[in-house]
Symmetry: C2
Subunit: 134 residues, 2 copies
DNA sequence: AATATAGTTTACGTTAACGTAAACGTAAGT
DNA sequence: ACTTACGTTTACGTTAACGTAAACTATATT
């Protein structure tokens, strides 16, 4: 009831299992504090988890997500590191923009497919499902 | 040099291995004609492959992609099938719209991350990578 | 005829991302 | 003291999506 969360708090909130959260820790994606033996998650950990899951929804691997998570932290101070980081960021952006295109196209196609379906219903001449807002 | 393609034509064009293409066939996602023993791909097969790969880039499983591919074909004629199809399409759309949100947010975040990096460069006071158009 | 090039089937190997289960600890409620 | 709820570590199992290799066929080129 404070600023912190238990493992099952997070599991419930993000609809994943505790196993998943521990697995992410094994992979080094999370680093919760400990209170004795128990894991205790600070808001920052929660944010990291949200980023990881967002990455997943976008089709990134956990390693890729890890990289992204790192990008949000302090950029570090090594010049070489920074350069690598920037080019990775730009690569990611290219990929994401490709995804945006894919998405647009696919949404249009689905629109078409649905219209075809509704038309087919029309020929059956019966009560048909409601139209979609978009 | 006609309207058709060999397996390695497609492999080259879409930058996948022939193994991958045969694998998709095993899964029932492709059904090329045969000329003797050899697979021979018509334009329709090529389109299907493109759809599958687009699905992949969007993080769909092959089975999901298969479903999508089916949606583009003839909607069939069975009423029950049509209804199932329409609701699947709508579900997909929900998912894709969620992805669009995720994408937007992540692109903004990457923007921020890059700025941070560039700022860090500023403090190193050296030749820094060029700014990005967007 | 021999080599090269593209194709075929069959089958075992691999990696990522968890699931599932065993065996145990701890703190709260009855 | 017993049960219930929540947590822990360790370890083996599983599924998807191919990779890799073996053993073979067919066509074309040198």
């Amino acid at each position: 009831m404070s600023i912190n969360y238990s493992i099952s708090d997070l599991a419930a909130e993000f609809n994943v299992t505790t196993r998943t959260i521990r697995f992410y820790e094994e992979k080094g994606l999370l680093n919760p504090a400990r209170e004795g033996n128990r894991r205790i998650y600070r808001p920052a950990d929660r944010t990291r988890l949200r980023l990881i899951l967002r990455g997943k929804r976008l089709g990134f691997s956990l390693d890729e997500s890890a990289e992204i998570v790192l990008m949000y932290g302090s950029p570090g101070n090594n010049r070489r590191q920074l350069e690598r980081l920037i080019s990775r960021i730009r690569e990611k952006r290219i990929g994401l923009q490709q995804q945006q295109e894919d998405l647009t196209v696919m949404l249009e196609d689905l629109q078409d497919a649905e219209k075809k379906c509704l038309a087919a219903f029309g020929e059956l001449g019966q009560k048909r499902p409601a139209e979609t807002g978009n």
